[in-house]
């Protein structure tokens, strides 16, 4: 069965259609399609190769779209988690910055600041370690781990011995 253009395409109506460039153009294309028999395709169906190629392209497009969608969601989620983690790290840094330099190693090995903002990451762990990198300088490394240790955010604070009186 030949698929023919709708009547309004084949026969532009009214005087405007004869004068109209678009109207004449559409009419010409419709006639060409009929004469070349392009629309006979529908009668014999598609070959297996054609179908396979079409499915392959469709599968590729769907797979790539889904992969992009999943990656986007994953990154959005990670970005949200990191923003929460760095707020907690920055707050903890404010505390650690003001602790007595001499007793830094003996301070709490987990966060002393509020970790309420980390609730969506639960279960999580907060770790604080202090190392002396050189005389008069201590590095305070604050770490948050979540997703069973698969994800982590870290912030290192360098404390310098100012001679007993804290700058802060």
């Amino acid at each position: 069965m030949a698929v023919r253009a709708p009547p309004t395409w084949r026969k532009p109506v009214g005087e405007g259609a004869n004068r109209s460039f678009i109207g004449r153009g559409v009419y010409t294309i419709a006639r060409m399609r009929d004469q070349r028999g392009l629309s006979i395709r529908g009668d014999r169906g598609f070959s297996l190769v054609e179908l396979l190629v079409a499915f392959l392209i469709l599968t590729l497009v769907i797979t790539m779209s889904m992969a992009a969608f999943v990656e986007r969601n994953k990154r959005l989620q990670q970005a949200g988690e990191i923003i929460l983690a760095y707020q907690a790290l920055a707050n903890e840094a404010e505390y650690r910055r003001r602790m007595n330099y001499v007793g830094l190693e003996g301070e709490e090995p987990s966060f002393v600041s509020s970790t309420e903002v980390l609730a969506p990451l639960a279960p999580y762990a907060t770790i604080v370690s202090v190392t002396q990198s050189k005389p008069g300088v201590k590095n305070v490394l604050m770490t948050i781990r979540w997703r069973n240790g698969q994800r982590q955010a870290r912030l290192e604070l360098v404390r310098v011995d100012t001679g007993g009186s804290n700058l802060w």
Partner: protein, 169 residues
């Protein structure tokens, strides 16, 4: 020859088509449910909101340059919804009132030689507040910090920031 349209589809063809369709539906359902679970768990990221960024930036500057927190000023009384600071500006001192009392709005009123100048940020989270002004008091010589919090529409804590006045001694 029997034409395709007249013969219809075989059971195998229908089953295969349904299976492929079902697989797509399953994947879509999985993705949607995962997305919803993330939405439920994580608060709205307010740090990408320009108004929130503006409020935090101005607040940070006022608090970092603060010389003292005041208990009252010009009819305002300090509370978890009102933060009053005396802050340094252009070599002088200025009283600044941060008013979080109006839901969704933050008002900053600064007093320039006694004349109030207002700055307002709108479209903010409803529960923006200066929760504590004594968040950190580890060292008797250290100045008190302000802890700024904000929750999203579902009551999840989205902002929790400690702002500490810098040393000016």
């Amino acid at each position: 020859m029997v034409r395709r349209a007249a013969a219809g589809y075989t059971l195998v063809e229908v089953v295969v088509a349904m299976a492929i369709f079902g697989m797509f539906l399953f994947v879509l359902a999985q993705l949607t449910s995962e997305m919803r679970s993330v939405e439920r768990r994580l608060p709205v990221n307010m740090h990408k909101h320009p108004q929130v960024i503006a409020v935090l930036a101005r607040l940070r500057r006022d608090v970092m340059d603060a010389t003292e927190y005041k208990s009252s000023h010009d009819g305002y009384t300090s509370s978890d919804k009102v933060l009053i600071v005396e802050t340094m500006i252009n070599g002088g001192l200025q009283d600044v009132v941060w008013d979080f009392q109006t839901p969704g709005e933050v008002h900053r009123r600064s007093y320039n030689v006694g004349v109030p100048v207002d700055w307002v940020a709108r479209g903010l989270p409803l529960t923006f507040s200066a929760l504590e002004i004594d968040a950190i008091k580890l060292n008797p010589r250290s100045k008190w910090a302000a802890r700024i919090t904000a929750t999203d529409q579902k009551g999840r804590l989205a902002i929790d920031t400690i702002l500490q006045p810098r040393a000016t001694e």
